[in-house]
């Protein structure tokens, strides 16, 4: 059975590129383009990995992260945050909230794939 990743991102062309990349790696990719219902979607899909943009319509990636980490069920869920907000403050906030990996845009495909492999090794 294929591993499942939920990609929460609102940029269509980033979605296509990442979907293509991860599909080649054998992942099943689900897409969510708004933040407001992202947590609900995580509960429904129970993904093996969550890729999360920081700035999203409806609810920020940071708020989604905080909400998920406050639920014991998602304490161990690998969460890779992809963000254009590279300020130290954003990184510190995301790390304090329990992000597994913080990656700033524009990222390289190699970096993304390495992070995905690393976070889902077991």
């Amino acid at each position: 059975m294929k591993k499942r990743v939920l990609l929460v991102e609102d940029e269509p062309n980033i979605i296509e590129a990442i979907t293509f990349l991860l599909s080649r790696e054998g992942w099943h990719v689900d897409i969510q383009t708004d933040g407001a219902t992202a947590v609900k979607r995580v509960r429904e899909l129970q993904p093996d990995l969550l890729m999360l943009d920081h700035m999203l319509p409806g609810k920020s990636g940071l708020d989604i992260l905080i909400e998920l980490r406050s639920d014991d069920q998602f304490l161990a869920l690998p969460i890779l945050m992809l963000t254009a907000r590279g300020q130290m403050r954003d990184r510190v906030e995301a790390e304090a909230a329990g992000v597994s990996r913080f990656m700033t845009k524009p990222f390289s495909n190699t970096e993304v794939l390495a992070a995905v492999r690393d976070l889902t090794r077991n």
Partner: protein, 433 residues
């Protein structure tokens, strides 16, 4: 160099008489732009023109030239105090200026320049960290760059890509490259707009438009005070208020001003301060108005040169009028130690404190603050509350019965007080950008 200080003195005198630059220029028969150059110390001034200006301002010409000396010495004293020199050294400023006039000018100019740069750092730091428009533009730019980089990398490295995917990615690249061109152009235009204006008023958000509008009028609206023009009309006339949100905010501020002016005229307030003193409670009682109303009116009194801040019960700032040495950040949250916020938890209590603002000059202010209901009272409904704070500069030689000042900063990012209990984030002054 001294002529330069004369220009500043002319500007000060003109402001004291509430004369517009264009009006003074017209009276003395020169263009407003030339007067502007004089006032900004970019043209020498003397002879008949100086006499004409002095006459139009109703002062002796020597008051303008000798005032320059006084301004220089005052600036030197300020610089010495900021450097925490002993008082005995501060008092030798006039002797220093007399013996080494050239060096004195250099020192004073350097001190002014440092002040200007500090304000620029404050504004830029505030903007970089918190300007929502800039953050959205940068996000757009980086997201598009991320899409292009990722797509181009797939096309370059994946030799087994199907024709269908390849065509789709080519289309995406075309689309994203156009988007990148547009968003980078928009960002450059936005940043260009910021650099052209004076006094650091970078127009971007509705609140910035309003701040620029208020500053342009020097927070003084005589036509509104006298009732000769309605708020709506004045807002309509302003070219600077572009967005609907900015017009809405400005209209609200001017309507409040009109209501306040109807209850307490500035002339009567000025007169009553002479007999009752600078006591907002006594003044409110005399005029039979709320203390908030009195604080707002005192904020409009030019001779007091006070700052004024108003916030709602979430702490969101609704109005901010800076005064020398006391500024409120436009985007970042202000210092949590401001007495403004104390009132929100004790509605109706009027506080009076002395505050010292961290920074080069460590200026002190007497601060009055109160939070009062602004909505119509009804049973079982908590009133909507607004807090108002008046910030009155204290002269260094002015005696105050208030002893130890509350030490505050502009905002955490530019506050040098490292171990402040209210600190929300590190200061760039200690940790760098």
């Amino acid at each position: 160099m001294r002529e330069g200080l004369t220009g500043s003195r002319i500007r000060e005198r003109r402001a004291m008489t509430s004369l517009k630059q264009a009006e003074l220029a017209s009276r003395i028969g020169i263009s407003a732009s030339y007067l502007n150059l004089i006032e900004h110390n970019r043209r020498r001034i003397g002879g008949k023109l100086l006499l004409n200006i002095a006459s139009a301002l109703g002062v002796d010409a020597s008051a303008l030239t000798e005032g320059a000396e006084a301004a220089l010495i005052a600036k030197l004293r300020e610089a010495a105090s900021a450097a925490r020199l002993p008082k005995v050294d501060v008092n030798t400023a006039d002797e220093f200026a007399g013996r080494f006039p050239g060096w004195a000018e250099v020192l004073a100019a350097g001190y002014r320049r440092v002040g200007a740069l500090e304000r620029t750092v404050e504004a830029l730091s505030d903007r970089l960290a918190n300007d929502p428009k800039l953050a959205a533009s940068v996000h757009e730019l980086l997201s598009t760059a991320a899409a292009i980089r990722s797509t181009a990398s797939i096309l370059a490295n994946d030799k087994k890509i199907t024709t269908e995917w390849r065509d789709r990615f080519h289309g995406n690249l075309d689309q994203d490259s156009r988007r990148l061109a547009q968003s980078s152009k928009a960002l450059v235009n936005y940043l260009d707009d910021q650099s052209g204006d004076q006094e650091g008023y970078a127009i971007g958000s509705p609140q910035e438009e309003v701040d620029a509008f208020l500053a342009e009028h020097d927070y003084t609206f005589e036509e509104i005070e006298s009732g000769t023009i309605a708020a709506e009309e004045l807002v309509g006339q302003s070219e600077g208020l572009v967005s609907g949100s900015a017009r809405h905010i400005a209209r609200g501020i001017l309507q409040q001003l009109a209501l306040d002016a109807g209850e307490v005229s500035l002339q009567k307030l000025h007169d009553q301060i002479q007999s009752l003193g600078m006591d907002p409670i006594r003044l409110a009682k005399y005029f039979a108005v709320s203390v908030s109303t009195i604080l707002r009116r005192l904020g409009s009194l030019k001779s007091l040169n006070a700052g004024l801040v108003v916030c709602d019960r979430t702490g969101s700032l609704l109005f901010r009028k800076p005064t020398k040495g006391f500024t409120i950040p436009r985007f970042d949250a202000p210092c949590a130690l401001l007495p403004l916020f104390d009132g929100l938890s004790s509605v109706g209590q009027i506080s009076r404190n002395k505050i010292a603002v961290a920074g080069r000059s460590e200026m002190e202010f007497e601060v009055f603050a109160v939070a009062e209901p602004v909505s119509v009272l009804s049973y079982n409904n908590a009133p909507f509350v607004q807090a108002t704070m008046l910030v009155v500069p204290l002269n260094s030689n002015e005696l105050s019965d208030l002893s130890k000042p509350i030490e505050i900063g502009a905002t955490c990012r530019v506050c040098p007080r490292e171990h402040c209990p209210a600190r929300r984030q590190p200061s760039i002054l200690s940790s760098g950008f």
